[in-house]
Structures are given as structure tokens and as C-alpha cells.
């Protein structure tokens, strides 16, 4: 069993960032996690033929398609698509505020790793996974599908997306409400820099439709701790016209108070609506996020 130290390094977002391919990153995370968990409680069962692939040493002999051997005189393995038992939607915030990062990784990057890892895990367990990237409105909607080949589409989109524009999560959620006819799991990955009341109103709607809602609140360490020292002009990342010149040391206490109130409001509202809310500083290892998801799935 890997030690805790090894696992930390393995799931460290910064370590993952060195891996170029998004799919590979997700695979690293998920397989590392699963190996730690032993058997997956969500193993699907195969019933439906998916595709043939050429035999490679190590494949089970019993899975060789002898009919195909008769026809082509070559060994093929018959693969089946596992039956989906969950439809999950990953909503990733791609507004400009997500482009902020202080530890070598932006919130958006972290969100992408998180989304990809979740997707990989879900797909690996036979669930359908859809992806929505949004800022003030829905940027891209990828409907839910199963199968590991879908992972590629999800990962490619995440890699191609650049955060920009303002956030209007409530508007996005309203827009999605029409599209998400079938109930499932809705995972929101965002910094939630919007009016909490409005956002909670939209989330409440999804809950009423018996969707599972998980909120991954991603924030940067600087946003949470406000460690600045020198006189600084703070420029709003989404609206450059808004600038504040202040001495951080003088304003830190008040800022942290405001931030704590903001987080507390989300925590309280989510608890009330039985929405699983988790705050993730971008330094949090990704396995923690996946564990939280798995716990919810249980």
C-alpha cells in the first residue's frame, strides 16, 4: 500500500500539472485512488458489445472471439460497454476570475484536473458523464456519454478552453435546466463569485428535481489568506475598471471577515438544501476531491 507521502505527491495538483495530457492526468489520479481503495463499489456489468481489438499477450484467453479468428485468422478480443447506472454533469466555471492562481496553477487549471479526474472515475465505473463549461452563459455543452473513448472528448475540450468573461452562474443554471431533463448528478466546480442567494435559488431548483448536487468551491490560497504586504493596486480580474489601492496589512482583517462571511453563507445554504459543498483551495490534493465524490455516491 502506498504511503501517505507518496499519495500526496501523486495527487498533488502541481505534480499533475507536469503531465501534459489531460486524460493521462485523470488516469493517474483515478487509478492511484482506486488502487488505494481496493475494489470499486461501483463496478458495472458488461452486457453490450462495444468493439473488437487485437489480442495482446496478457488478455484473458476466454475473451478471445473465436468467430472472428475463424474469419480473419487473427486473434481479437471482444469488448463490451458497461451499463451506465449514473448520469453526471460536470459544470466547470470558465470565467476570467478562474484564471487567477498564485501557486503556479490557476483555479481553472485545478478545476480542469478535478473535472477530468472525476470524469475518468465516473467513466471507469460505467457512468455517463457530460461536461458544461460556462462563464456568463454556457460556453460548451457536451452531453453525457459512457465509455472511455468519451474521456478523450471531455479532456480535449477542457484543454482547449480558456477562462474569460464574467460569471453569471444563476443564468447558466437556468439555461441548463431545460437541457438536463433526466435526473442525475450535477457537479459544479467554480469559485462562486456571484450573489450566493441567486445561485442558491438556481441550485435549489435542481435539488427539487431530485438531482444530486455537489459543489466544489475552488479558491486560491491568496483569496483565502490574503497574504499581501506591500501597498498594492488590486484590479478586478473580470472588470479592469474596478481598482482599489490599499495597504493589505491594514485591510486584511476586514477582508478575511468578508471572505469568511461569504463562505459561511454558501456552507449554510448548501447544508440547508442538502447540497454537498466542499471548499477546495487549489493546493488541495485531487484525491480528496474524488473521495468526497465517492462518499457522496455511496
Amino acid at each position: 500500500m502506498p504511503t501517505d507521502t507518496v499519495r500526496r505527491g501523486y495527487f498533488d495538483p502541481l505534480v499533475l500539472a507536469k503531465i501534459a495530457n489531460m486524460s493521462l492526468r485523470a488516469r493517474h489520479v483515478v487509478e492511484g485512488l482506486l488502487s488505494g481503495l481496493h475494489d470499486s463499489p461501483y463496478r458495472g456489468y458488461s452486457v453490450e458489445f462495444a468493439e473488437h481489438r487485437e489480442y495482446v499477450p496478457g488478455d484473458e484467453i476466454r475473451r478471445i472471439d473465436w468467430k472472428a479468428y475463424g474469419k480473419f485468422d487473427r486473434y481479437f478480443i471482444k469488448e463490451y460497454e458497461e451499463e451506465t447506472n449514473l448520469r453526471a454533469y460536470l459544470l466547470v466555471d470558465a470565467s476570467a476570475s478562474m484564471d487567477y492562481g498564485s501557486e503556479g496553477m490557476s483555479k481553472f487549471d485545478y478545476s480542469c484536473y478535478l473535472a477530468a479526474s472525476l470524469a475518468y472515475l465516473m467513466l471507469h465505473q460505467g457512468d455517463d458523464v457530460g461536461l458544461v463549461t460556462f462563464n456568463a452563459q454556457v460556453q460548451r455543452y457536451i452531453p453525457p456519454r459512457g465509455g472511455m473513448r468519451h474521456m478523450h472528448a471531455l479532456a480535449s475540450h477542457l484543454e482547449a478552453t480558456r477562462p474569460q468573461g464574467e460569471t453569471h452562474l444563476d443564468q447558466v443554471l437556468r439555461e441548463l435546466a431545460g437541457k438536463l431533463a433526466r435526473r442525475g448528478m450535477i457537479v459544479i466546480i467554480s469559485d462562486l463569485f456571484d450573489d450566493p442567494e441567486v445561485i442558491m435559488r438556481a441550485l435549489r431548483y435542481f435539488r427539487h428535481r431530485r438531482n444530486e448536487v455537489i459543489v466544489f468551491h475552488v479558491l486560491d490560497k491568496n483569496e483565502l489568506e490574503f497574504p499581501f504586504q506591500r501597498l498594492t493596486v488590486f484590479e478586478d480580474i473580470e472588470d479592469t475598471a474596478v481598482r482599489v489601492l490599499s495597504d493589505p496589512r491594514a485591510i486584511r482583517a476586514a477582508y478575511l471577515q468578508q471572505m469568511e462571511a461569504f463562505l459561511a453563507e454558501y456552507r449554510r445554504a448548501c447544508r440547508r438544501e442538502t447540497i454537498d459543498y466542499s471548499l477546495f483551495p487549489t493546493t488541495t490534493p485531487l484525491d480528496v476531491a474524488l473521495t468526497r465524490y465517492l462518499a457522496r455516491r455511496q
Partner: protein, 708 residues
């Protein structure tokens, strides 16, 4: 009560109080720009904390600025002076004499103010520090005779003392330390108070102290303390001065080049480079030189300029300013004239110019001056033409071997001389002594200085030469030391003159070896008459062929034409008395003197032995004094004394030696009141209090800064 600083220059350090503001502005300009998503929380937080934070920031800024000001203040070493401090001492009444050095050296400027002005300011502070029962008086070191004889007494009235201070003026008089001490000690002696002190504010240059010793004083009061305050430090000060200005190449003919030489001296221990010397005629700068002067070196600085137009002129040589401006200017005056118009009357024209009586005279007067400008404009005429000439067109008339003149001609000639013209007779074979005496040695036209006797003829092989040359005479001044030049001339015939030493006013300028007068002169009215007992040509003498002939003729004609007036005008040095020289007929007349600062003085000529003089001492300031009589005007160039130009200081030990058995406290102007004890100015040091305040301010600042 007043506040003084021992190191006031540190007060400029208070300007550093602007540093926190400047640092804030620099940091504001260099503030980081950080793109941040959670600005909305900053805005909310800023709204809450801004007022409180800004107030704290302002407080912090004020504390920091105050700390810097306090630091500068403490470095400047503040001292509290004045009546309150004095009152705290609860001392018995004291009599004080403030002796202020008002000699010329106190006009030295170390900065904006002269030392005398600073001494007055210091004395004013000292006066303010007097207790109510103290009495005092302010005495200048140098007093006019009139002021010294006026009654002086101690006073408790500060207004009176301040008025006495305000009335102090610099003096050009010679420094007299013993008299000043005597006056001060006498006043203190007369005081009934138990405590007496003399406060002497001076630069303590050596001048006046060389011969001083306390034992010279007849009155030394008991219980007297001596406080000396030195202004300007104990080191010798730098000073460059002009000691003299001389103008050569007399007489000054208008537009002719003249040489002006200024004597410049460095009275310092250090070498000076590129000292600028300017020459002015009137207010026009006409020359400039840069000179290098070694320590205590004296140089002459030559200028060659064109003489200004005929008339009276004044000018000055000026040094670029140093600390002591009083000796940086030297005034001079000069008179220039037009070339002299000379009428040469030929009594024996002959058949050609060479044979004429005036040939050699004409040759002597015609050459241009050595400086390329003519000194004389000679006009030759035959004796018959004299009647037609307007004599007032000439300054000098030379009668050469003229046989006779009409009575009208003689009268015109007499009038010409009386009104200031010059007349020069030359003898010759046409001059009949009897007839000449009849024409020119008579009461109505007494032109001849002496009555003529019979001519004396010498053998050709036994000519006679000049024996005596009165080279001190203005007409023969050229031959001073060069009398032999004249003595080479040989005389074969000459007219004798009667009673050369018996007629008053007649001067024998040249006499032959046998004692016979050869050249005599006398003043007549405002003019001059000279008689030369031999011929102007070679008939009776070979003098016209000698080197001495030209300068002799120039000297005689120049003298007759009063060319000596075309020279540097008289000068005087304050405060030494000067004697204006007049002529005999000036006796009893009045000279009006207008000083450079616009005052008028009247003095009178009076006989003093053989001279007619008008003594003058009432100088006001250095400059050009304009003299006017009913007949003429003149300039008197008055310059300040250079006796005070040496800024070598007497040292404390030597001063103490001269003041034994009394002891003294010598304080420097900059550290007045700093003496551990016995200071003339009671003070209370505030630096420690200020430093304590600074520590408190810094502590408060630290607390505020940590809270923010």
C-alpha cells in the same frame, strides 16, 4: 527670553520631515498592480476600515515628521537664553559695559552680515538677558572726540541700551584699545554695584593690541570680570586689498595713452588664483586683469588706457569682492588737458628758418610726444605779428630775442600772464638790458623777474657751463638725478641779472658756474614768467644741440602752461588729515567740499609758512570729494585706511598675558553660552529635553505602527 541654537545649520535637517511624505508618494507611484478576483470583498472591507485606517495613517505620518523635526532640533543644540534664565540665578545687581569693536575690520563679512552687525545682534541678546536691577552701557571701541567728551552713564533702561546699540557705526579711526578700556573701566569704577563686568565683542585682530597692556591703564575697577566674545574665529581671514593706484606719463593729454598701475596685496596665509582687478574711469570699466597672488604677496597690476577728454575725471580700481569690501576699492582722480598752444615770437627771423631765432625751439616743441600724441601746438610768428594775435588763444608765449614791444603790446602781455598765461623770455643780441628794464621791469608791466644787467661775453675757448640745477623745481623735475645732462651745455654769452636772491618770489632755476642766474622764474597773478639769460638758438650757447634741450624746453613750457595740473589729483587716506595746497592769493578764500554721500563742508585756505593750505579731516565715507573755490574745481580722492586690512588675530593666551592680573573668559560667537561656567550669556540647554521628547514620540510611533 529667547531661543538660540549652537549649530543652527542642523535646523535645515527639519526639511527631512518631508521624507515620509516623499517615501509615501514614491511607494504610491511604485505600488504593485495585482489582478485579483475578490476585489468585491476588498471594496467592502475598505469601506469599513478606510476612515479608521486613514486617521491612524495621518497620526503615524505626523509622528514621523515630528520625530525628524525633533532630531534636527536637538542636533541644532537649542539653548534657552534671556531674562527668565537670568532671573533663576537670583544674582545681585550687576554693572555691565558692552564694548563693541566698531573698527573697520569689523566690516568683514563671513556671510550676509558684517561682523559689526552680528556683534550688535549678539549684544542685543545680551542686553535682553540682563536682570531688572542690572545696569549697563554700550560703548563703541572707537569714538569721536565729541562723543568721548559727552557724559556717559550706565542705564537700566533696555530701550536706551538698544538705542545705543542701534547708533553704533563703523569707524575709520585708528584702533585705540587702551582708551576704550579706560573709558569702560572708569564707568565700571563709578558704579556702586558689587558685580562689574566688561563684555567686549570684537574680531580681535592684532591691530591695536600690539602695544597694549593692562598696566597702562590708570583705572582698573575691583571685582570686574572680563567676557570677550570673538566674532569670525581665531584663524587669520583671507583678504586681498588695493594699496595704491598710480598714473604715469604726465601730463595727461586727452586721448593719449596713460599707464595706471594698481598695487594689489594678498594679506592671507593662502595663495589666491585668478583674482579679478577692474579699472574704472567714472562708471565705465576700461580694463580688467586676473592675477595670482601668493601668501602675503604684493603685485603691481598695470593697465594702459586712453586718457579721457580734457577735464577733471575720477575713477577707481576695484577687486572682486572678498569678505572685506572696505579695501577692495581704490579711488583716484586726474585732470587731462588738450595739447598746449604755444606762440613762438621770433625777434630775429633771419633769412631762412634755419637762421631764425626760434628754429631749435620749434624743433623741440614739434616732435610728437613719446606716446604718439602731440603735447604742444607751437605757432611761430615774427615779432611784428604779435599785435595781431589774440593772446587768449594760447597758454604760453615765448619771446625769443624780441627787441621791443609797444606799450599796448606789453599791456596785453601783462594781462595775459596775470590771467594765468605763461611767458618765457629768451635773451639774444637784440635784447638791450636797459631798454628791456624800461619796458618790462616797471610797475605797470612788471614782467621781468629781475632787472637785467649787462651781457657777459666769454672767450670762445673758455665757455661757461651750468653750475647749479634746481631740479626740485617742477620745471626741471625731469632732470632729477640727471643734472649732468644740462651741465654739458656751453655758454659763450649771457645777460646778467641783478639781485637774484633779494627779490621775493623769484626763483633761480639754473645758475652758471660763476653763480650768475641763467634761468629765473616768478609767479605773476595766476600766470608764470621765466627769463632765460642766453639765446634760444646757437648764437650764444650750444645747448640747443644738446640732448637736454628738448626736455628742458618741454619742462619750461609745460611749467609755464601749468601742465602739472594735468596730473593725478591729490588723494587722502581716512582718517588722516590732508592739507589742500593753494596758491598765495588763495589765502583766506573758502573751499566748498562736497562729500560722496552728499554732505557739504567749508574750509579755508590760510598761510602756513611759505605755503597756503587748507587742512581737512571731516571725512564721511571713502570716495571722490569735490572741491570748489570761486576760481576752480578739483577732486580729492579719499580712500579708507589699509591699517585694518590685516586680519591676523591675537590669540587667547597672548590676550590673557596683556590683561594680567585680570582673568578673562573668551567665547567664540558660534559657541556663545556653551561655556561650562562664566559665559557672558546665561543659557539653558534644551537638547536633552528635546531628545527625551523624541524618544517618547518614537515609542508612540512604534505602538501606532504595530497596531496598523
Amino acid at each position: 527670553m529667547g531661543l538660540t541654537f549652537l549649530q543652527p545649520a542642523f535646523l535645515f535637517g527639519a526639511l527631512a520631515a518631508a521624507m515620509p511624505v516623499i517615501i509615501h508618494l514614491i511607494y504610491r507611484r511604485r505600488a504593485l498592480v495585482h489582478r485579483f478576483p475578490a476585489v468585491r470583498f476588498l471594496l467592502l472591507a475598505d469601506k469599513r476600515t478606510a476612515r479608521k485606517f486613514r486617521l491612524a495613517q495621518w497620526l503615524l505620518l505626523a509622528l514621523r515628521m515630528l520625530a525628524i523635526c525633533l532630531l534636527a532640533f536637538s542636533l541644532a543644540r537649542p539653548h534657552l537664553t534671556g531674562s527668565n534664565v537670568q532671573a533663576a540665578a537670583l544674582a545681585p545687581p550687576q554693572a555691565t559695559v558692552f564694548l563693541i569693536d566698531n573698527s573697520l575690520s569689523m566690516q568683514y563679512r563671513d556671510g550676509q552680515e558684517t561682523r559689526l552687525q552680528r556683534a550688535k545682534t549678539l549684544a542685543s541678546r545680551l542686553v535682553q538677558s540682563l536682570a531688572l536691577n542690572d545696569s549697563a552701557v554700550v560703548l563703541p571701541l572707537l569714538m569721536s572726540e565729541e562723543a568721548a567728551n559727552a557724559p556717559i552713564s550706565l542705564s537700566r533702561d533696555q530701550t536706551v541700551l538698544q538705542e545705543q546699540l542701534a547708533a553704533l557705526q563703523p569707524s575709520h579711526a585708528a584702533v585705540d584699545v587702551p582708551s576704550a578700556f579706560q573709558r569702560a573701566f572708569t564707568l565700571l569704577q563709578e558704579s556702586s554695584t558689587a558685580r562689574r563686568r566688561l563684555i567686549f565683542l570684537s574680531d580681535f585682530t592684532m591691530r591695536g593690541w600690539e602695544e597694549f597692556h593692562l598696566s597702562q591703564l590708570s583705572v582698573v575697577p575691583e571685582n570686574v570680570t572680563l567676557h570677550f566674545i570673538r566674532l569670525g574665529g581665531s584663524q587669520r581671514d583671507t583678504n586681498v586689498l588695493i594699496t595704491d593706484v598710480r598714473i604715469t606719463e604726465k601730463p595727461f593729454i586727452e586721448h593719449a595713452p596713460i599707464d595706471v598701475t594698481a598695487a594689489v596685496q594678498n594679506r592671507s596665509a593662502t595663495a589666491l588664483r585668478n583674482v579679478r582687478v577692474d579699472l574704472f574711469v567714472g562708471s565705465n570699466a576700461v580694463g580688467q586683469q586676473l592675477v595670482d597672488l601668493g601668501p602675503d604677496e604684493q603685485l603691481t597690476v598695470p593697465f594702459r588706457i586712453a586718457a579721457p577728454p580734457a577735464g577733471l575725471h575720477w575713477g577707481e580700481v576695484r577687486l572682486e569682492g572678498d569678505g572685506f569690501a572696505e579695501d577692495d576699492r581704490f579711488y583716484y582722480a586726474l585732470r587731462t588737458v588738450t595739447p598746449v598752444q604755444v606762440l613762438l615770437v621770433d625777434g630775429d627771423p633771419g633769412t631762412s628758418l634755419f637762421d631764425s631765432e626760434i628754429f631749435y625751439l620749434l624743433q623741440a616743441l614739434q616732435p610728437r610726444g613719446v606716446l604718439g600724441r602731440p603735447l604742444f601746438y607751437p605757432k611761430p610768428i615774427p615779432w611784428e605779428g604779435l599785435e595781431q594775435e589774440r593772446l587768449s588763444d594760447y597758454q604760453v608765449i615765448v619771446l625769443c630775442n624780441v627787441e621791443a614791444l609797444t606799450a599796448q603790446g606789453r599791456q596785453r602781455l601783462y594781462q595775459f600772464v596775470v590771467e594765468g598765461g605763461g611767458l618765457l623770455f629768451f635773451a639774444g643780441n637784440r635784447v638791450d638790458p636797459v631798454r628791456y628794464n624800461a619796458m618790462f621791469y616797471r610797475s605797470d608791466t612788471l614782467l621781468l623777474p629781475l632787472a637785467l644787467g649787462q651781457p657777459t661775453q666769454r672767450q670762445p675757448e673758455q665757455p661757461i657751463a651750468i653750475g647749479t640745477v634746481h631740479s626740485a623745481h617742477e620745471a626741471l623735475a625731469t632732470f632729477t638725478g640727471e643734472e649732468a645732462l644740462l651741465q654739458r651745455g656751453k655758454f659763450y654769452r649771457y645777460v646778467t641779472m641783478e639781485g637774484p636772491n633779494t627779490v621775493p618770489g623769484v626763483r633761480v632755476l639754473l645758475a652758471l658756474q660763476d653763480g650768475s642766474p641763467l634761468l629765473v622764474d616768478k609767479d605773476l597773478g595766476r600766470g608764470r614768467v621765466l627769463f632765460f639769460a642766453s639765446s634760444a638758438d646757437r648764437n650764444w650757447t650750444d645747448l640747443p644741440t644738446r640732448t637736454a634741450y628738448v626736455p628742458l624746453i618741454h619742462g619750461l613750457v609745460g611749467y609755464a602752461a601749468h601742465l602739472s595740473a594735468a596730473s593725478q589729483r591729490p588723494g587722502a587716506v581716512m582718517p588722516e588729515a590732508t592739507r589742500l595746497l593753494g596758491r598765495e592769493e588763495d589765502d583766506g578764500t573758502t573751499v566748498t567740499i562736497r562729500t560722496p554721500d552728499g554732505q557739504e563742508r567749508l574750509i579755508h585756505y590760510a598761510r602756513d609758512g611759505a605755503l597756503t593750505v587748507a587742512p581737512y579731516t571731516s571725512y564721511t565715507v571713502p570716495g571722490i570729494y569735490r572741491l570748489a573755490t570761486s576760481a576752480s574745481t578739483d577732486f580729492l580722492a579719499v580712500n579708507g585706511t589699509r591699517a585694518e586690512s590685516n586680519f591676523e588675530k591675537i590669540q587667547a593666551a597672548e590676550m590673557q598675558t596683556r590683561l594680567r592680573p585680570l582673568s578673562m573668559v573668551l567665547e567664540e560667537e558660534e559657541t556663545l553660552g556653551q561655556a561650562a561656567s562664566g559665559s557672558a550669556l546665561p543659557t539653558q540647554e534644551l537638547a536633552s529635553l528635546v531628545l527625551l521628547t523624541l524618544v517618547v514620540v518614537l515609542a508612540v510611533e512604534n505602538v501606532c505602527a504595530n497596531r496598523l
